[in-house]
Amino acid sequence: VNWEPIWPWLLGEQHEALRIAGVPTLLAEHLLYVVGPVLAAIAIALPAGLWIGHINKGGTLAINVSNAGRAIPSLGLILIAYLAFGLSAIPVFLTLIAMAIPPILTNTYVGVREVDPEVRDAAAGMGLSGWEILRRVEIPMAMPVIMAGIRTSAVQVVATATLAAFVGLGGLGRPIFTGLATSVQFNPDARTVVVVAVALVAVFAIAVEQLLGLAERLVVPRGLADRRDRRPPPTEADVGPTQQTPKQSAVTA
């Protein structure tokens, strides 16, 4: 394995043989492709999910959206958006946003719906208005499930953004597709670049997941977090790294 062209590339120079931008640039691009769409998806899906959860209408829609999202192959959606809407990066970004919405929407709805009705009644009995119930009871109690949805969504966007390099966007998918195009199987230079790039994008995805896990601890109210710890280990799998917990899958599938 020839590591010599790898070091300058990792530190920011263009890769000489394969003409790929330096790794810091690719990392920054990938971060942009993930943070932008996920924030946009939160801005759309969070209010929508809270609202339909609060008024308890349109739940079937909220749940079916995430099933549909799973059935649509993201590669096909990117390519058709790119071909049909003007061969530019904008439709690809819109696709990334569209793919990020379903898990957040579904989990926000499910999180609000799963709030114990007695708690909601108690809040109403204490004289809280509908808006106050949403803000002070439902949102805090739904937070763990909402955050799990954001986490699923972000990890998914990391993967979809990697695919976007196929239509010419940058990011960490770039070296992977360039390596593939320069016969990764037989070209040692390409192979080294691919192995390094895959390691980077895998670490990137895992880091995004872990960081959002930390963020979840910060935004979940102390009282809820404590209660979780004291609870005996759940028999139904807890809300894990992806939103496809068996419990929910039984509901959503």
Partner: protein, 234 residues
């Protein structure tokens, strides 16, 4: 780009002329390839995940490491994993651009969902049922096969449904490493700037995902007749 845009303008969308005999024949071949890849990946996934789940239920301390490991594998972006497998596996059949490389990757992605749901399913079996089976003299193996698995089946099938739908989407990505089923239409449609071809691949793979999901629901109902009678009574 100008040439590409002109090429697009000359083709109407939707372009029903795409469905000529040759393309329809190819579509059927690709659909078959897609189903075969999905089915084999699920089969291998179950062969690995079921024993792991049984072990994790019996030895609790195995659960977290196995969940984390399959979780990390699941997190790796699919395009990256598939190209990596192509780069590092030995060349030549069945690897290289053959089916083996794709199947290894697809199987890896089924593990988390199948493992987690199977464990949850086995743990959802009520204690008094397993205790009754033990008291009736069931051996551990027979109890697992004849009592615990049937009762865990709805949760396991829920996992298989999610894994199947996810795998059908992932199969399209293996078009980059020589397989792909309907995903090949994505690549060829992209290369020839022909949106209709991509759209056909997209629609047929969504229809396939929905059809497989419904088929699994149906087979679950056939396999667990007791659950309906309970639903009917409730």
């Amino acid at each position: 780009v100008t040439v590409a845009v002109l090429a697009q303008l000359s083709r109407p969308f939707p372009d029903w002329a795409w469905f000529d005999d040759r393309n329809v024949d190819e579509l059927i071949d690709l659909l078959v390839e897609h189903v075969v890849l999905t089915a084999l990946a699920l089969l291998f996934g179950l062969l690995i995940a079921l024993p792991l789940a049984v072990a994790a239920v019996r030895w609790r301390r195995l659960y977290s490491p196995l969940l984390n490991f399959t979780g990390v594998l699941f997190t790796i972006p699919s395009a990256a994993l598939f190209v990596l497998l192509l780069a590092v596996l030995p060349q030549g059949e069945p690897f290289g651009l053959g089916m083996g490389t794709s199947l290894i990757g697809l199987t890896i992605y089924t593990l988390l969902i199948l493992f987690r749901n199977t464990v949850a399913g086995l743990e959802s079996v009520p204690r008094d049922v397993t205790e009754a089976a033990t008291a009736m003299g069931y051996t551990r193996g027979r109890q697992l096969l004849q009592v615990e698995f049937p009762l865990a089946l709805p949760v396991i099938v829920a996992g298989v449904r999610i894994a199947a739908v996810t795998t059908i989407g992932l199969v399209t990505v293996t078009a980059f490493i020589g397989q792909g089923g309907l995903g090949r239409l994505f690549i060829s449609g992209f290369r020839t700037q022909y949106p209709m071809e991509v759209a056909v691949g997209l629609v047929v793979s969504i229809v396939l995902a929905v059809a497989v999901d419904l088929a699994l629901v149906w087979s679950e109902h056939r396999l667990t007749p007791w659950s309906q009678s309970r639903e009917a009574r409730a």
